[in-house]
Each structure stands twice: as C-alpha cells, then as structure tokens.
C-alpha cells in the first residue's frame, strides 16, 4: 500500500522533536532559568498534535498498518535490525495515551516544579522520556522496542532520584533500576530465543512463524518476555520498586509510573499476542500473576497513609488487572483498561500532587482532612478520578473494568472473576478512604500549614480539568455498546482471531455489570462508615486483627523478604568471593606465578657476576665452539 509521505514525516517528528528538546535543554537549558520549560513544552505539544494526527490516520486506514523501515541499525550475517516503525491500531491507542498525557504533565510540571533548582534538568529528562517512550511504542522489532524499553527505564531512574540529595530518593532510583534489571534479563533471553528460533526480530516475521514454533520453546519465549513485563509493569514479585518510585516528583509518578512507562509491559505482551495466543500455559501464568498482583496490592493499599503510596499500590493493582484481562483472553478489554487507566490514574496522581503542593509538601493523609472547600478544583477532579477508578456507571473505569471482569467470566475463569470483584471492592474502599481522609472531616494539619493552604495555579488545575473529562466520558465513548464497542472493532486487526465468547443468556452481562457497580458502591459506603461516621472503628479492627493489619501496613513484608533471601545471600556470597576467591585464588594464582618466575630468576642470577672477564670467557668459548663447528663441516 502506498503510504503518504506525511505519515513518515509525522512519525519521524514524533520521535525526533523530544530528542531535540532533550539535547538542547540539557546543554543550554540552565541559561534560560525559569523559562527553561519553553522548548520542551513546545516540542511535546507538537508531538501531541502529531500523535493525534497519526491516530487519526490509523482510524482511516485501520485495516493495514503503517510500516516504515527508516534505515538499517545493525547488520551481521543473517542478523539485521532496522530503525523500523510501525503504526497499527494498538500503537495508535498508545500514541494517544502517551502524547496527550505527556503534554498535560509537561504543562502541570511548569507549576509544580516552579522554583526548583533542577528546573531545566527536569524538563530535559521528561523530553528524553518522551523520546524513548515513543521509540518503544513505534518500534516494529523487538530490539528497537528494547532500546525504548531501556531508555524509559533510564529516565525512570533519573527522575525517581531527581532530588538526589535526598538519600531515600537516590536509593529508590537504584532500587527501580536494579529490580528492572531482573525483568530485562528475562526479556533479553527471550529475544535471544526468538532470534535463534525464528531468525528475525521483526514483529511481522516473528509472528508469521508463531504457530510453527514448538510448544516448549514457545512457552519459554512467552515466559521470558513476560518476565520482562513483570519487571516493567511492577507485577508480583518484582513490584517492589514502584511504591518506592514515589520518591520522585509527582508529575513523574503521574507520567511514568501510572500512565505510560508501567504500561510498557502490558503493551509488549499485547504486542506479542500472536505468540501468547498459542501457549495456553503462558496465558495461564499471565492471568494468575495478574490476578494475584491485583488483589495483593489492593489489600496493601488499604492501610497506607502516604497519599502517593495509596495511588501507587492502586496502580500496581490496576496493572495486575490488565494482565488478568490479557491472560483471560480478553485482549481488547485489557488494552481498553490500559487506555482509560492512563487518564484517570494520571489524573489521580496529578491531583495528589496538587494536594501535596497545597499542604506545603505534606504527604501523610493523617495530617490532612477538610480540604474540600479549600482546594475545590483539586477536590472535584480527584473525585472524578476516584469514581472512574472504582468503576461506577458511567465513568470511564466502569466500562473497562466491567469488560475485563466480563471477559474473565465468559472465559470460564470464575475464581479469577471472584477475585476481581473482591479487588474492585477493596479498590473502592481505599480510593474513598483517600478521598474522605483528605478532603472531608476536620483538618488535622498544624496551624501554620493550614494557613498556607491554597489552590494550585491555573497551569496545574487546567491539566487536571482536561484529564477529568476523558476520565469521565472516555469509557462510554470508546466502550459503548459493551463487548462490541468502538475499541473492539478498532483493535480487531491487531487481535485478529480472538475467540469471542458470548454471554450464555441475555441479561447475564447486564447482571454482572449491575453487580460490580453495587460492589463498588458498597465499598464506598464502607469507607464512608469507617472514615467519616465512625472513625474509631478502623483502629479497633486493626487491634482485633493485628496480624492482617500489620501485614498490610508493612507491604506483606516483601522488602524484608528480599532483604533476607536475595540481598543478604548475595552480599554474603560477594563477601566470600572477596575474602576467599579473590584474595586466595585469584591473588594466589597471580602471586604464585610471580614467585615461580622469581625462583627461576634466582636460579639464573649467579650467571651475572658483573665481572667483565667472565663474560669475555664466555664470548671466547662461544667463538671457539663456532670455529670448531665450522671447521668440522668444512673439513667434511
């Protein structure tokens, strides 16, 4: 198919503009001081427009993807990788999420980071992030995707430890980086295996051969790829980095750790759909891990007191939900959830940033309360985000969550469905616990802090409003009517032969919907009772069930488990390597060799008498020997 040159230009610019913004801002941004945001924001605004253009292009040509191999990146024998780009409907959805939320977060950051010492650095990193994220979603082969994948990981590290003067921030950055290494190692092995098996890393080439790969090999490929996704998308047991990543500035949490980067794992698994679809075991693993992560982190979120930690665990839970959907075979529903989740979770983070901004840096919800009247815009937008999150009709989360749960139900995964419903209940409880503790009741902050509470500037509240709109209506726009909405037909070219399960009897779908909404409302009611009406009850429950409470509060002791098992043993092993292996074996071998030559040299030492006549004697003897030998041969 003939591709319009405009699309090539658009794709090239989407990638290059943020890169340009990054390089220029990093090099000369410092000179612009408080105006350092101008270029990066302009670049990102332009890419947002171009993303919408590319999306619109996909809407018009959604049967045939746009593929463009710009140039060869590296080639060696059979191995060839290009800087190749691909825009199909899945990419289109991602472009929309990344482009729009990226732009709004940039605007928001102008207000949030105002006056920070590293102002220009922050915007430079954000632009670098946009560049790598676009490379990730636009890539048409695994290696280029991996380049973007590592790039966003690097940006995540740089931005988590943005305030590197703070010990906890730099530690959190390191933790994110190291935990992701584990997943990336799996991803790399997966790529090796793909190349060895199929001889290419191009998506189209790999997927053509997807069916022909032996079951065992295919399972390994899928599991290794999924390991990468588990790391990047913070699934159990590699989720531990995401809550700590909240040490970074809040816009970073919204952009990277809620709306875009953490979705990369889900995106990659969805992209590898033609591989996963042929491996039932891999699908089962994806579903089980996703389901477990969803309920597990929702349970932790209930007792957290840091406003950002609550949303962070909620994000882990939501990502689990997406994997649940993919694993259960509800592919389009999973991407649908990713799509709307980006908006409302980004909104929730930005709102929490606005709250923290108003409270002068306070993040502990126990010291908040009664903020509803003081910061009304933040309150209303956050309420919209929370309702969207818990999935009440007709907000965005309702449509997506319902399709995920419906997909699990019709797929016959009733246990998964039940766990999903329970997760939805817990989600409603902790989301409204957050709302009630922050915005209702008496203000528990100190007099001085209370005095300074103020609504955020326009540059922060307008992005909130702009995100609140899709959080409210996007689900209905993209998801109506349920199970066959626009998003399904749109994504059909990507998820080409999903067996579409139908509800057995009419009204079953409606019944499930009603049920999940009722569960969510019950959660809100419980939160209302516990945190508005009878505020003494939560403490009593905690006293009554100390074990359950402590486990949740301490994040299931996951950090402690890591501390004991892998970290201590690694440090112990490293210590052994140092004191025994390095000192005894390595140094011993080197020193031993040196001693051997030393002995050899000692043996030869007497030859060097320093007396010239001894040397002369050997010269004479040598000459004599030479003469004798020559005479012998000439004589003969």
């Amino acid at each position: 198919m003939e591709v319009t040159p405009y699309m090539k230009i658009a794709v090239a610019l989407i990638v290059l503009l943020p890169l340009f913004g990054f390089v220029v801002t990093l090099l000369v941004g410092k000179r612009f001081g408080a105006r350092a945001h101008l270029l990066p924001v302009a670049m990102v605004s332009a890419t947002a427009v171009l993303s919408i253009y590319a999306f619109e292009w996909v809407v018009r040509h959604h049967e045939e993807p746009f593929v463009w191999n710009a140039f060869t990146w590296m080639a060696a024998g059979r191995f060839e990788v290009t800087w190749g780009f691909q825009v199909d409907t899945l990419t289109g959805v991602m472009l929309l999420v990344v482009g729009i939320i990226g732009m709004l977060v940039h605007y928001y950051s102008i207000g949030y980071m105002h006056g920070d010492g590293g102002y220009y650095r922050f915007f430079a990193y954000l632009n670098l992030f946009m560049f790598t994220m676009f490379v990730l979603i636009l890539a048409n082969n695994y290696l280029l995707l991996f380049l973007g994948w590592e790039g966003v990981g690097l940006c995540s590290y740089l931005l988590i430890s943005f305030w590197f003067g703070k010990k906890s921030a730099s530690q959190a950055g390191k933790k994110a980086f190291l935990v992701n290494r584990v997943g990336d190692f799996g991803f790399t092995l997966g790529m090796f295996l793909i190349f060895v098996t199929t001889g290419t890393l191009q998506f189209t080439g790999v997927f053509e051969k997807g069916e022909m790969i032996g079951a065992g090999t295919l399972l390994w490929i899928c599991l290794l790829l999924f390991t990468g996704a588990v790391g990047k998308s913070a699934q159990f047991p590699l989720h531990v980095w995401l809550p700590d990543a909240m040490e970074g500035p809040t816009p970073v949490s919204a952009l990277i750790h809620a709306a875009t980067m953490v979705n990369a794992g889900v995106y990659m698994v969805a992209r590898s759909y033609p591989l996963f679809i042929h491996s039932d075991v891999a699908m089962l693993v994806v579903m089980v891990i996703g389901t477990f992560t969803a309920i597990y982190s929702a349970y932790i979120a209930i007792t957290q007191n840091d406003i950002k930690k609550v949303i962070a665990y909620s994000t882990v839970s939501s990502l689990g939900f997406m994997f649940l959907a993919l694993g259960a075979g509800a592919w389009a529903a999973g991407i649908f959830y990713l799509f709307v989740h980006g908006f409302f979770k980004g909104l929730l983070f930005l709102c929490s940033g606005s709250v923290i901004h108003a409270m002068g840096g306070e993040q502990d919800m126990r010291k908040m309360g009664g903020l509803r009247k003081r910061i009304p815009v933040t309150f209303w937008t956050m309420l919209v985000g929370a309702i969207a999150l818990i999935g009440v009709f007709p907000f965005a989360g309702f449509w997506a969550k319902d399709e995920v749960l419906g997909g699990a139900f019709v797929g016959g995964h009733y246990i998964v469905w039940a766990v999903g419903i329970l997760t939805a209940f817990l989600t409603a409880v902790f989301a409204f616990r957050l709302i009630f503790m922050t915005f209702f009741g008496e203000c528990r902050a100190s007099e001085e802090v209370q005095h300074h509470i103020h609504e955020s500037p326009k540059v922060m509240t307008v992005p909130l409003l702009l995100l609140a709109i899709p959080s409210a209506v996007l689900g209905a726009v993209a998801g109506w009517p349920p199970e066959s909405g626009w998003i399904h037909t749109f994504l059909e070219p990507v998820f080409f032969d999903v067996e579409h399960e139908e509800f057995v009897w009419l009204g079953e779908g409606g019944g499930l919907m009603l049920f999940s909404v009722l569960v969510a409302l019950l959660g809100v009611y419980v939160a209302y009772q516990l945190y508005i009406r009878r505020t003494d009850v939560p403490g009593r429950i905690a006293d009554r069930f100390p074990l359950a409470y402590e486990a949740s509060l301490h994040k299931m002791y996951m950090d402690e488990i890591y501390e004991v098992a892998p970290i201590r043993s690694t440090i112990g092993f490293a210590g052994w390597l140092w004191t025994f292996f390095d000192v005894k074996v390595i140094d011993g071998a080197v020193n031993g060799l040196a001693r051997l030559w030393d002995l050899f040299g000692q043996g030869l030492r007497p030859l060097q008498t320093g007396r010239v006549q001894n040397y002369a004697l050997s010269i004479f003897a040598g000459m004599l020997a030479l003469v004798i030998v020559l005479a012998w041969f000439w004589g003969a």
């Binding site: 030492r605 030859l607 320093g610 007396r611 010239v612 006549q613 002369a616 004697l617 004479f620």
Partner: protein, 102 residues
C-alpha cells in the same frame, strides 16, 4: 716446509698468549696489553698470508693497516675508561668492578 706455516704458528702462539692473558690477568692494563697482542697476532697472520699466497694486490696488508688504526683508537678509549674507573674505585683490578653482579 712452507714458510707460511711458521708464520702462522707464530701468530697462533701469540694469539693464545694474548687470549690467556686477557682472560686470566686481573690488572686491566695488562688485559688491554693482551688484547693488543691478539690483534697483532692477527696482523702477522694477515701479512704473512698476503706475502706468501699473493691474491689481490696488497689486500692483506691493507687489512693490517686498518687493524693498527682501530687498535690505536681502541686502546685510547680503553685506557680512558681505565683512568675514569680508577678515579672512582682507586684500583685497576678487573674483579673489583662488579657493580652489575646479579
């Protein structure tokens, strides 16, 4: 008997005496003298061969002349070294110069 052999025998004798002296004497000046003895033994051999065997005109004598010149230069340098060494060590005994002993 061919008179050349007598001359060659003389040359060999002189060479051996020189070699023995150069290797065995401790006094550096004597060693240098013995080196001269060896060079002159070679000269005798060359000149004698030139005289009795003919060959290209005067080539043997020419060699001898070169050797005499070189020997003069060599003994000059040698004696200069001996004097310089004597200033440092107050001796001309060869076995006392053993700074390079390993």
């Amino acid at each position: 008997m061919n008179p050349l052999y007598w001359w060659l025998t003389l040359a060999v004798l002189l060479f051996c005496i020189g070699a023995y002296g150069a290797l065995a004497r401790r006094n550096v000046i004597l060693v240098i003298m013995c080196l001269e003895l060896m060079l002159n033994a070679v000269n005798i051999a060359l000149v004698a061969a030139a005289q009795f065997r003919g060959g290209s005109e005067g080539a043997g004598s020419l060699f001898a002349l070169f050797i005499i010149t070189l020997a003069a230069a060599e003994v000059t340098v040698g004696l200069a070294i001996v004097i310089a060494n004597y200033r440092n060590k107050r001796t001309v005994q060869a076995d006392r110069f053993d700074e390079l002993k390993g």
